[in-house]
């Protein structure tokens, strides 16, 4: 019982953690139709900028969480305006190549600015330590992540479904030409959505800093694969799908590691394959 509860909690926290990264990835794909490899780099940059802000203005962790993602959103803005805009009309491989180039550039940038070695991040005082749950310690910070995930989901839902801006974005996502003809500022919306997606990735990065326990160049490369799997299972472009997908993957892989350790690496991929066989567009993907 104790074990089941703790494996479940571990699964929930890692699922919510992946969700923070997957949300921006799937949002950008849903609206812009771009599969952004550099999403993991935004995650990494968010973590590093947060680290530096917290170092400079110690001990204000929340300032880092505020400023890190904002700085990365600004970088995202430049990337979209200056580079991505030039490849929207080209075939998918060109877009992939461009975003992959940014992965290499940002990885090396981080190495130049922050050094090649790993850095040890500070943990906010209030979120340090553990609480006892059914007789075993569970970190407060993981509980915090479990709470943050649904909050971000709720915020996104409200933004997209309940505001005029959200409606315009959805209109631009479903029919770009029609939305433009009706007067929606589509290019500006694209820029905004891309920067917002980068902001989400960086928020994940900033919050991940104490969760993972260290920063290293290239840290975004493995998380972006998890985020991608989650987005595909949920249906690329669907936020609801990414949320559910993240929960499912997080919990299943936690149980897999605990109870079927031989297969745990294959488990997530098997699940993805199974979902794609039954529902080629993912759990909540739009029908063709």
């Amino acid at each position: 019982m104790q074990s089941i509860v703790h494996v479940l909690l571990a699964g929930l926290s890692s699922g919510m953690f992946i969700w923070l990264v997957a949300s921006g990835l799937t949002l950008i794909f849903g609206v812009l139709g771009i599969l952004n490899f550099a999403h993991g780099s935004f995650y990494m940059l968010g973590a590093y900028v947060c680290y530096t802000v917290v170092k400079v203005f110690a001990p204000h962790f929340y300032l880092g969480v505020l400023l890190g993602p904002l700085a990365v959103a600004a970088i995202g803005l430049v990337v979209e305006r200056r580079f991505l805009r030039g490849v929207y009309h080209l075939a998918l491989p060109y877009q992939l190549l461009l975003t992959f180039a940014f992965v290499l550039i940002f990885d090396n940038l981080v190495k130049i600015v922050w050094g090649a070695g790993s850095l040890t991040p500070p943990v906010p005082e209030a979120l340090r330590g553990s609480v006892s749950i059914v007789g075993r310690k569970f970190p407060v910070y993981s509980l915090f992540i479990i709470a943050i995930g649904p909050l971000v989901a709720l915020g996104l839902w409200a933004l997209l479904e309940r505001t005029w801006l959200g409606r315009t974005v959805r209109a631009a996502a479903s029919d770009r030409e029609m939305a433009a003809a009706l007067g929606a500022p589509v290019p500006a919306l694209y820029t905004g959505v891309f920067a917002f997606g980068a902001w989400l990735a960086a928020l994940g990065g900033a919050l991940a800093v104490p969760y993972v326990g260290l920063l290293a160049p290239g840290m975004g490369e493995s998380i972006v694969i998890d985020a991608f799997i989650v987005a595909v299972i949920g249906g690329l472009g669907s936020l609801k799908g990414a949320f559910v997908g993240a929960l499912v993957i997080g919990v299943i892989s936690a149980f897999g590691t605990r109870f079927f350790p031989t297969f745990d690496m294959a488990l997530t991929f098997l699940l993805m394959a199974a979902v794609l066989l039954v529902r080629p567009r993912g759990l909540f993907g739009a029908a063709a």
Partner: protein
């Protein structure tokens, strides 16, 4: 690329030098020509280590040791009066990149010697290629015992030498420590690849022999790149062992230690061993989060041995790079001096002569007295195991109580058991 292509330039070089040699041999009387063994310089040392991704810090530490040694050697007249040149390449941890780097170094750059390489998978991939490239490769980090036991000893790949300690340090020496601990039930969280499997197996086999009744109650292997160890930690806590053995390393060990601490693992499991916990990046990265009284070791530890040579090395290294030397810094540094000693002993940089010189060679290095075992080309030396403690002089945990297991004990393993594991050691 299955076949080795001989490029136009390489072809010209081969035929050109052959004809010059033939002409020279014809022009000079044989005795005079052979009597002055002047080595044609420079001596080129192609070095590769991981310099990208999450483990990029290792490459930096390799490079610091390598560059410092090359600078020192050149400042004192080079190797046998010939200047040393080095080039550093990113090995990326991928086997095919390690192979590509070796080919580049030998075929295009003109390397006389190869060095470095971090992962076991990489050295095992490179090994079959070495007879073809026919240059001495000095391995400074990858630890699998399959390299010296199978590739060098069994398959006869004589070009490979290893200056860092192999998994014997992680598996065997650990078992010698564990047998004296009051722990009968052991568990592991270790890497889900060659290195993690082979160390855990060696630890179990050796410990079982020395301590009947010991049991192994749980194992949880984490794939490369794991950042979240919480499920693995649950596995261990459910099994309620009294000893934990983990060959997690680098950033993954840092994450593991922090997450295990949050979960209260170190309060439940009293005897914990990290064979590569004494790595500088781990000590610096865990800082005060590393609990006290954890048994740690490495392939070199900057406070051992307490010799003039080591103390000067550490002081100079710290002054130059503002870091204490990591174990890969010491092995990279010492690899240059080992090659220097071998070339000067052989009076030649030819592969065959250098191999002969290295076999059985003894050398004093910052990490201690090393002997290259003739049969498997493995450097035998000792690195202590010790218990972590706080030391106000350092911003990280250091080894307090230390125990040194004699190399002749933990290197004692088939096919080198009994007398065969005993080259002439200086100290008893």
């Amino acid at each position: 690329m299955a076949k080795k292509r001989l490029g136009r330039r390489g072809f010209l070089k081969v035929t050109g030098s052959a004809s010059v040699l033939a002409a020279a041999a014809a022009a000079f009387p044989r005795g005079v020509f052979g009597a002055t063994p002047k080595i044609k310089g420079p001596i080129k040392y192609g070095y590769q280590a991981v310099a990208s991704g999450t483990l990029a810090g290792y490459g930096e530490f390799h490079k610091m040791g390598l560059l410092m040694a090359v600078e020192e050697v050149n400042a004192k007249g080079g190797i046998a009066g010939v200047k040393v040149e080095t080039e550093f390449r990113d090995s990326t941890l991928k086997p095919d990149d390690a192979i590509k780097n070796c080919r580049y170094f030998v075929d295009s750059w003109g390397a006389d010697f190869l060095g470095g390489i971090d992962s076991s998978g990489q050295v095992l991939a490179v090994a079959p290629l070495m007879p073809q490239l026919d240059k001495v490769l000095m391995v400074t980090h990858a630890a699998t015992e399959k390299l010296n036991e199978e590739q060098v000893f069994k398959n006869g790949v004589k070009q490979i030498f290893r200056i860092c300690s192999p998994t014997y340090q992680d598996g065997n020496a650990a078992a010698f420590i564990a047998k004296d601990l009051p722990a009968m039930k052991w568990a592991t969280v270790s890497p889900k690849y060659e290195y993690g499997f082979t160390c855990w197996k060696m630890f179990q086999d050796t410990l079982k022999k020395m301590k009947p009744g010991v049991s192994f109650v749980a194992e949880s292997f984490a794939p490369f790149g794991t950042t979240d160890f919480r499920s693995h930690i649950n596995t261990i806590m459910d099994a309620q062992p009294d000893g934990l053995y983990s060959t997690e390393w680098a950033g993954e060990l840092i994450s593991f230690v922090k997450q295990a601490k949050e979960a209260g693992l170190f309060e439940k499991v009293k005897h914990v061993m990290f064979p590569v916990g004494a790595a500088m990046d781990v000590l610096e990265g865990t800082g005060s989060d590393m609990p006290d009284n954890i048994w740690i070791s490495g392939r070199y530890y900057f406070q051992y041995p307490n010799s003039k040579m080591n103390n000067e090395f550490v002081a100079k290294f710290h002054k130059k790079w503002n870091h204490y030397p990591a174990y890969v810094s010491e092995t990279a540094y010492s690899s240059v001096y080992a090659l220097k000693a071998a070339v000067e002993k052989a009076g030649s940089k030819d592969t065959k002569a250098v191999i002969q010189a290295l076999e059985g060679m003894e050398i004093d290095t910052p990490g201690g007295h090393r002997v290259f075992r003739k049969e498997d080309h493995q450097a035998m030396y000792e690195v202590p195991w010790g218990k972590t403690r706080s030391d106000p002089k350092y911003p990280f945990k250091t080894m307090g109580e230390q125990r040194v297991i004699s190399a002749r004990d933990f290197f004692n393993r088939p096919p080198f058991d009994g007398d065969r594991s005993m080259p002439p050691f200086q100290q008893g």
